[in-house]
Amino acid sequence: MKEVVVLSGKGGTGKTSIIASFAALAKSKVMVDCDVDAADLYLLLQPITQEKHEFWSGQVAVIDEEKCTQCGLCQDVCRFNAIENFKVDPISCEGCGFCYNVCPEGAITMEESLSGHWFVSETRYGHLVHARLGVTEENSGKLVAAVRQEARLIAQRQGLDYIISDGPPGIGCPVISSLAGADLAVIVTEPTLSGMHDMDRVIDVCRHFTIPVIVGINKCDLNEDNSHQIESYCHDQGIEVAAKIPFDNVVTEALVRGLPVVEYCDNGVSPQIKRLWQSISGLLVNS
């Protein structure tokens, strides 16, 4: 069983549309959506939910008004400015428990919070494990770890070849959580200065965790000069550019119809996405 995670650094490079196509192309796999903050993959895979699980994580301080003598110690020690007028702002509270540990009256309790849900669903393309982090919640990294773990179990149980994962944008906590121990990272970038800048940073993160990387350039004809620059940059870094996918409105049209683009039409976009998947599966077999 091999795990590939698709990242982009910058959002909106077309990553999810490409992954939905991988779902249609790859045999013997489980899909997992690690973008728990803005999970969109399910919109293209039209899953039927089979299991729904609560995700309890993190704690929030709660002050018992009856016991509180308003000594103010909790407010003094809290470094997240989460306590004002002897009330805890649950959004600012990081759940460190400092206040709970110092309160001389024992007036503070730490309560587990329900931070989201995760799901196992059936799709036309096999299983999808996905999640929904509650808005304003923390601990996205832990939720990512939970969905990956479930995908791993499914892959083991069913003897599947691949885990294909839709990674979150950025380079922080959920990205690191989605990368740890993966076999390959695919970076979907676009030939814009910001796309290139963000690709740089996410490649550095993959390197930092010694995960092998390949790149796909989406909307490659939007700016040919920038596309060439990406290619030569990758060449210098010893990174394969496995596909150059042209800009085409069919990607949006397919999305509006809720279909992976490779199933929607067979023009210039689809052969390149197929090529990208071939490179990925080739690399995974040999990794």
Binding site: G9, G11, G12, G170, C173, S194, L222, F247, N249
Partner: protein, 280 residues
């Protein structure tokens, strides 16, 4: 006034809107621009500021004085993030897990813990023509964006119009960046992805009690569900930008919309006036 530009879904054109708004106002109001997308800060590519100050952002992590430590285990017990473990005659610290809350050093009965700074990123300050520019950058391999965002926001100067470029999503870094805003612009696109993530972003803003308006970018392809949703919920659509290859090409070269196509300046001024009308 603080206006944040957020999006739910990434890549909808947040930075495009934020930078063009900032550039349309100098004659009207002094502007301060804060790029709080500290994982992938991109606004500098468009505003090309001259950065003059750089300041490291660190969080305080524990340092154990082995001479004083009795290995009682209190520090490990109070740490909510498992950043300390006490095993027999040894205290192990896992710096990446530490949130810098300070509980361990305060509560150690032997006074054996002091705090040392661990750098997790930088804040840079500069000037882009009349615009005061500040952005934060999370260091590679680091997990915690919020402390850097808090550091960027310490530079807020309320005398100016403060424009905050926010990271995508609806979780803790986004909350950190948008909270205390007087208004939030949500940039979306008219697709099922755009709508799905817009709904979540609006829910987040309701919870934070921040008024919002919507910008629909890349109109033309896609569907009308975002428009219908906004009408139904009574959320104002303040700007529509069509899908235009010309605009996409300017963006790809790091050129702002109002500089590449100056006829848009009027539209962004109008957007600013609408924000004034709708703010808290």
């Amino acid at each position: 006034m603080i206006v944040s530009i957020a999006s739910g879904k990434g890549g909808t054109g947040k930075t495009l809107v934020a930078t063009s708004l900032a550039l349309s106002l100098p004659n009207k109001r002094p502007v301060q621009f804060l790029d709080c997308d500290v994982e992938e800060p991109d606004a500098h590519i468009f505003l090309k500021p001259l950065l003059t100050h750089k300041q490291a952002v660190s969080i305080p992590i524990p340092h154990i004085d082995e001479k004083k430590c009795t290995y009682c285990g209190k520090c490990a017990e109070v740490c909510a993030y498992n950043a300390i473990a006490v095993i027999k005659e040894k205290v192990l610290i896992f710096p990446e897990l530490c949130h810098g809350c300070g509980a361990c050093s305060y509560l150690c009965p032997e006074g054996a813990i002091s705090e040392v700074g661990r750098e997790i990123g930088v804040v840079e300050v500069g000037q882009s023509k009349e615009i005061e520019f500040i952005h934060g950058k999370l260091a590679i391999g680091e997990m915690m964006a919020p402390p850097i965002i808090r550091e960027v926001k310490k530079h807020i100067n309320q005398e100016r119009l403060v424009i905050i470029d926010v990271s995508p999503g609806t979780s803790c870094p986004v909350v950190e960046a948008v909270k205390d805003s007087d208004f939030c612009l949500l940039v979306t696109e008219p697709t099922p992805f755009g709508l799905n993530d817009l709904v979540l972003a609006i829910e987040m803003l309701h919870r934070l009690a921040i008024p919002c308006g919507v910008v629909i970018n890349r109109g033309g392809v896609g569907d009308s569900n975002v428009e219908e949703y906004c009408h139904k919920e009574g959320i104002p659509i303040l700007l529509r930008i069509p899908l235009d290859i010309e605009i996409a090409k300017l963006y790809s070269r790091g050129i702002t919309l109002v500089e590449g196509l100056p006829q848009w300046r009027e539209t962004f001024l109008r957007l600013y006036n609408d924000i004034e009308l709708n703010k808290k």
